[in-house]
Symmetry: C2
Subunit: 331 residues, 2 copies
Amino acid sequence: MKAKPTIIDVAKRARVSIATVSRVLNGVHVREESRARVEKAMQHLGYRHNKIAHGLVTGKSGVIGVIVPGIVGHLYGQMARGIEEVVMAQGLHMVIVTNTRNAAEEKENLRLLLERQVDGVIIMGSYLNDEDLLTLKSNVPIVFIQRENPPFKSRYSSVTIDNRSGMEAALQHLLKAGHRCIAHITGLRRDGFERQKLFQEIIKRKNLCDELIFKGNFTEEKGLDLAGEVLRHKDITAVFCSNDRSALGLYRSLHSKGVRIPEDISVVGFDDEPWTAYLEPPLTTLRQPAREVGRLAAKQVLTEFSGEAKTKQHTVPVEFVERASVYKINL
Amino acid sequence: MKAKPTIIDVAKRARVSIATVSRVLNGVHVREESRARVEKAMQHLGYRHNKIAHGLVTGKSGVIGVIVPGIVGHLYGQMARGIEEVVMAQGLHMVIVTNTRNAAEEKENLRLLLERQVDGVIIMGSYLNDEDLLTLKSNVPIVFIQRENPPFKSRYSSVTIDNRSGMEAALQHLLKAGHRCIAHITGLRRDGFERQKLFQEIIKRKNLCDELIFKGNFTEEKGLDLAGEVLRHKDITAVFCSNDRSALGLYRSLHSKGVRIPEDISVVGFDDEPWTAYLEPPLTTLRQPAREVGRLAAKQVLTEFSGEAKTKQHTVPVEFVERASVYKINL
DNA sequence: TTGTAGGCGTTATCAG
DNA sequence: CTGATAACGCCTACAA
């Protein structure tokens, strides 16, 4: 009647061996009578299965590690939620660590996770390179979501947003609406650069003016600053922002300058953050299926962990969300 | 040169005993030379400390469990971030599970966490009652953030928002601005009810009309619906919404009806969600110091876990955020 | 300062 | 179907 009861205590009270207790614990068949006695004993003693000890012998911790970038934001939250969803359904748990942006810290976080014997790791927006991974010699599956560096030559899975299809859809929409002089406020990191590259590629392919690139940094402030420069080009009729926050900055500046959206300038964002629908006018943007991305990543680690399943590079499409921030010139 | 090396392997290679290896692992002093040899051996072998085994013998898992309500939202994310911050600083980890709203599931989640031998638990918006807790006989500290039921008679810590001070501040502001006929769109759960009660109490104390209560449910839709009813009372000059989402609904309906904010109707929200500053006009609201709440809760579990520290009921103030949605009548 | 040996709570193997 | 008993990897008196 003192500290935590163990299977030994249960076994004694049920007058069976600890092996039998272990069996009922793990759903192995035992005689009905024994099982009943064991269960009663557990009940009585307030026994609780110790997953630490269990993990030590089985070599599985039942935990998936998740590393998320320090920047808060809605997207990462959704991804984490998606991961938790499938992880939980398997009776596993998820430990989250956030790394305040730098490769060294990320590596350290990963190391700690591995010490904890996680059964798999999911890293969002990783900065790690092949070499880092190598020195850590992880033996568990790692899958990367929206990794920053170019894909590994190596053996890791990944889940990546299909920026291309999104950009194509959005620009198509703009073109159909009659826009011919479209500016782009760029962003940072992999997504930012990729989007810029795609923007330029598509614009060039359509034979439009491809010089209207404004260097942004994914922040509202920058979007706000850039508005002036954008307005200096009188023929710009639409601005494609690399993310919603830039679009927000642009909105505010345009509003304050008395420029009408979308009549004077059309705006398109990227991410579909929850508040974009509340803007005036509601922002046309591209939605990242963040939750689904999380689910995918989680499923990938799990199958890799519990089988021979090979690594795989997933690409998920983004969805074009039409709202009211694009003016139809040709109507 | 095969599977995971253990301290035994390290000990052999360093020609010391496993005890010595363990010592350098745990920062106990050993002769400089031995330490060097051990470290070199670990390096060479690619040794990794196994925290599962470590946990089994020490009885500490080094993990704090966190249960968050299924509803996503910005606040819970911030709280989790605050928890992770302090937990991480102690070299611990945090496992998050979300419960899709119902006491049974919450209890089950807690049970699983305890099986995992977490060193402490933080539950946000819990629905558990004394009895539930009792049957689980947790031996680790549990602290509740914004628990739904009335405080325990029992021995658990909590962190709670000081709705009162917030309501006082907001209403004071409204009164100073000359508003005398103020409506309230109510919310749900503990916070909703508490805010309503406080609203009525304060209004009555000030000898104002206290009948203008509109039954909301924390959602945008409801806020939108209620706008009509609010407008029917011609003398209402301000509406205090129980949360920002209700305020948002009100905004949209008012806008669509051509009612001006704040000239015709002033609006105050609660929560200070990130997008409230982007509304037109920016919403005056009350900020919950969510991150700080998380930190507090985490510190509380940690001190309770690692010492005799008694349980404690924390109350954190909310901050009044003045923006542009309140009209100064008397100026 | 270092080594020996006895656990920590479970599972797994192998006889009965 | 059940029961000993040896791991699992590490920590920690206790001894040396």
